[in-house]
């Protein structure tokens, strides 16, 4: 393993709160090991800023393993940065060269207002789930798990959709700020399973209605979302969502 040290220029979005207009600040970081993660590089920056009596940069993060979906930075025009199928917390400094300038912004979407600096409010996603992203079973009295055999392929496809971490990169990448990839992942996860098929019609109608109410834009099938999704959620899920929606629209009794 090589360990090289980098000096970088960072242009970072600073915004005091949701009312503030916000602006870019430029920072220099020195002696960054290429074995660091991108967020560890921000830790170094923040330690330095605090020591200098300045305000550190606020950003969301928790697991730092690419699974909680908290981290969310728009780096040089790409949600989660340059690596494919990756979250920022998993991005490592090997991706950069000495002397690089890196621009870091928050997710930008009307439905995700900025809380501070790089941290945004993604509670709209929770409310979309509240609209129907579940199976209506109460605790207790479920039948034996192996009484519901599920074809392996279906179970695998459902799992692949359920792997969505709710990060919102798909929204940030989309020029319309559409949440279709996120929504379609949830609809697919549940609709593909026999347990979830029962509520499939109301689920898709209600979730889409909520998505519209939250102010996410329409989907024009550009595919920018799929390209940045850290969990490689596929566009075929959107196709499935559209089918589900059509089916539900045709047969829903209102």
């Amino acid at each position: 393993m090589s360990s090289n040290n980098l000096n970088l220029t960072l242009k970072v979005w600073k915004q005091k709160n949701s009312q503030d207009k916000g602006q870019f600040e430029t920072y220099q970081v020195k002696d960054i090991s290429d074995e660091m993660s991108f967020l560890e590089m921000f830790d170094v920056l923040n330690e330095k800023l605090i020591a200098e009596g300045k305000e550190p940069v606020t950003f969301d993060h928790d697991c730092r393993e690419g699974i909680c979906g908290a981290c969310s930075m728009y780096i040089d025009g790409k949600p989660h940065g340059p690596w494919l199928a990756n979250t920022v917390c998993q991005l490592h400094m090997r991706a950069y060269k000495d002397g690089d300038t890196v621009t870091v912004e928050p997710w930008r979407a009307n439905a995700f207002p900025v809380i501070k600096d790089l941290m945004v409010d993604r509670s709209a996603f929770d409310r979309i789930i509240q609209a129907g992203g579940y199976i209506s079973v109460n605790t207790g009295n479920a039948q034996d798990a192996n009484n519901i055999p599920i074809e392996k392929q279906l179970a695998d496809d459902s799992f692949a959709a359920a792997a969505c971490i709710g990060c919102g990169a798909c929204v940030a990448a989309c020029k319309n700020s559409s949440a279709m990839l996120f929504l379609s992942a949830k609809v697919s996860h549940l609709a593909l399973l026999p347990q979830g098929a029962i509520e499939r019609k109301t689920r898709v109608l209600n979730m889409i209605a909520q998505m519209d109410a939250e102010g996410f834009g329409a989907c024009t099938n550009t595919g920018a979302c799929e390209a940045v999704c850290p969990k490689e959620i596929s566009l075929t899920n959107i196709a499935r969502l559209n089918q589900e929606y059509l089916l539900a629209g045709l047969t829903a009794e209102k």
């Binding site: 605090i50 393993e65 699974i67 993604r122 509670s123 579940y134 179970a155 695998d156």
Partner: protein, 657 residues
């Protein structure tokens, strides 16, 4: 006197007996009872949704921006259940027995038996809620094995089991939010418990976005706030995992059980430098198929692929032929440390051992050749097929390893080293999961209850969901049934005012120190003391030093910390300072507990107490008890002992040979 409220009667009938006789609250009264659930990981989300379904008025809190991001999301390997779907001899009794033995006979039999009894229901419940567990071609659920057992009872969803289980519980929780039964407060941190007439009646929480303090009333309070492994600074826990909620409860009278019982997980990615902010686990499930080894020669600098088979020491297979690479975690971790300390470690730091998949890739490749009825297959083809199988089973873990280290684990063995992972200790609770504060309950990793001195893999998820889905909905009745006449207490009650003022004062004090050192740097120093003196091996002299050092660190912290920004805004440095201040106090108690326990058991290895072969030596005559510590003022604690009685699983020296 500690009353663990264990029901009488034969072990296997206690829970049924309890359920048959515990008090019930009728539906009309449930609507009048308010319950606060702090924490919405697996334990909290399952509890909050189940209680909401029953009709209680629930308020749930978490510090992340959404309950879906709780630390539970990161669990990789799987969840145990005594389903015996594999027909390999599993049963409720065996799961119970393995857990007691794995915990080195320091857990309560009655709790563990109940856990094993409800384990099957958890799988049923999760499947009904749409958790996409791995399946076989016939459509039935698939199982894998995990350390410390000889049966296959672990259910999984690739290397993302925690994620899938949490999403299941989260969805049920959001359904209850939509139905109006649960009010969810995300980005909120509980900073104190309010006690009125000796009962827990509310909390003080800080809205992390506005920085404002809030008062919330509850007839009962559930702490489901996870483990405290981050006291070591570096651990596999999420960055935000902390002890604050449990610690505040401790200061208000809840005893802390076995605080020194920490799990050091054998297979994590080694530390790469001072910048390291956390450590990444490589799931224990990898030990199913991977083989662990070091070179037979000390300071061997050859690349792993250049070291011939006969010059490799598969030390776990050598020392523990019966369990081999699947010995429990504490045993595997110590064995790795032993080899590295003796000079056989690998990688640039020499603080690592190899986890090698070459054999497994080959074996799976051969299996595919047979299954697909292929002939004249080249070695390369076999390896290719094998890699595909390994990718399906562990792909996300291998990808994660490559992202972090820049090395491809399909080609070269992974380098791994033990890291802090889980805390068996936690708030002391009785059989009903109530702490020593009346009306205050504790669930999931935050309590001390089921894992003794060492937790077996895939049993934390099981415990969290058991507590939340199947235990607390019953046991709370015993308390709440007598509380139906209590009206909601207005939050201008003096106890609320006083508690809020104490929290505000402390925050002001922290902000006004205006010293020179960052919270992060102090946390790192605490972690170093803990890891070196209260880590994988502990001794009397070291622990005594650690206590002195931690006390000094505490003084320094309160004199010299610097927190930027202001109180009434989003201020992560302030949140962190609040948490680290509590970790420092906890660190002292952990060392005190480790000092008191002059035996080795499970993850607690006292160097003074080992067998000639270097295995942990228990001392049942003197230490067959739960150490429950009562806070008695700064730097002072009183020890209470809950004697452990083993009626069914008679303690023997643990052997995995």
């Amino acid at each position: 006197m500690l009353n663990s409220k264990i029901p009488s009667g034969p072990l296997a009938e206690k829970w049924t007996e309890f359920k048959g006789h515990c008090k019930l609250v009728n539906p009309a009264n449930k609507r009048k009872l308010e319950i606060i659930v702090v924490g919405t990981g697996l334990a909290g989300a399952s509890a909050a949704s189940s209680l909401g379904e029953l009709g209680y008025k629930v308020k749930a809190f978490c510090f992340q921006d959404s309950p879906r991001r709780a630390h539970s999301i990161a669990a990789q390997g799987g969840i145990n259940a005594a389903k015996n779907y594999q027909n390999d001899g599993d049963s409720v009794f065996r799961l119970f027995y393995d857990t007691i033995k794995g915990g080195d006979y320091r857990a309560r039999e009655a709790n563990v038996h109940r856990l094993a009894e409800v384990s099957g229901n958890i799988i049923d419940q999760c499947v009904a809620a749409g958790v996409p567990f791995a399946r076989e071609y016939g459509g039935l659920l698939s199982n894998r094995s995990f350390g410390g057992t000889q049966v296959q009872r672990t259910f999984y969803a690739a290397g993302q089991t925690g994620q899938q289980l949490l999403i299941g519980a989260y969805q049920s929780l959001e359904r209850q939010v939509a139905l109006g039964n649960v009010d969810m407060y995300a980005r909120h941190e509980m900073l104190d418990i309010v006690i009125i007439d000796g009962k827990a009646r509310g909390i003080i929480a800080r809205n992390l976005v506005t920085g404002k303090l809030e008062r919330h009333f509850g007839h009962a309070i559930l702490l489901c706030t996870g483990g405290y492994g981050n006291v070591f600074y570096l651990s596999t826990n999420a960055m935000g995992s902390n002890v604050t909620a449990a610690w505040k409860a401790h200061l208000k009278g809840a005893y802390f059980g076995n605080p020194c019982f920490t799990q050091i997980h054998p297979t994590c990615i080694p530390v790469s430098g001072d910048h390291q902010s956390k450590l990444t686990l490589m799931s224990e499930s990898l030990r199913n198929d991977g083989r662990i080894w070091v070179p037979k020669k000390q300071n061997d600098n050859r690349r792993p692929n250049e070291i011939p088979e006969e010059e490799r020491d598969y030390y776990l297979e050598r020392r523990y032929p019966a369990f081999g690479n699947l010995v429990p975690r504490d045993v595997a971790s110590r064995a790795a440390k032993e080899r590295c300390d003796a000079g056989y470690g690998v990688g640039s730091s020499k603080q690592a051992v190899y986890l090698d998949y070459a054999d497994a890739i080959h074996r799976y490749g051969k299996g595919e050749v047979n299954k697909r009825n292929l002939h004249n297959v080249s070695e390369e083809e076999v390896v290719k097929l094998g890699k595909e199988v390994v990718k399906e089973k562990y792909g996300n873990l291998f990808d994660m390893y490559e992202k972090i280290t820049g090395e491809n684990p399909y080609e070269v063995p992974m380098r791994i080293y033990p890291a802090v992972h889980y805390t068996m200790g936690g708030l002391w609770v009785d059989y009903e999961l109530m702490t020593t504060v009346v009306g205050l309950y504790c669930l999931g990793e935050a309590n001390f209850s089921d894992h003794g001195a060492n937790r077996l893999g895939a049993s934390a998820l099981m415990q969290g969901l058991a507590d939340g889905y199947f235990v607390i909905p019953y046991t709370m009745g015993n308390y709440l049934a007598d509380d139906i006449m209590t009206k909601a207490i207005p939050t201008d009650h003096p106890a609320f005012v006083e508690a809020e003022k104490a929290v505000a004062d402390r925050i002001n004090r922290l902000m006004n120190i205006k010293g020179k050192q960052t919270v992060e740097s102090m946390h790192k120093r605490l972690g170093k003391i803990m890891w070196e003196k209260c880590g994988m091996a502990r001794n009397e002299a070291g622990l005594k030093e650690a206590i002195v050092e931690i006390q000094a660190l505490k003084k320094e912290f309160w004199r010299d910390i610097r927190i930027p920004g202001s109180i009434e805004e989003m201020n992560p440095e302030l949140d962190k300072a609040n948490r680290v201040a509590d970790f420092i106090e906890l660190g002292e108690l952990m060392c005190l507990d480790a000092l008191n326990r002059r035996e080795s058991c499970g993850g607690h290895f006292r160097e003074e107490s080992q067998t000639e072969e270097g295995e942990a030596k228990r001392n049942d005559e003197e230490f067959s008890y739960v150490a429950a510590w009562q806070y008695a003022g700064e730097h002072q604690w009183q020890l209470h002992k809950e004697a452990l009685n083993f009626e069914v699983a008679k303690p023997t020296q643990r052997s995995y040979k």
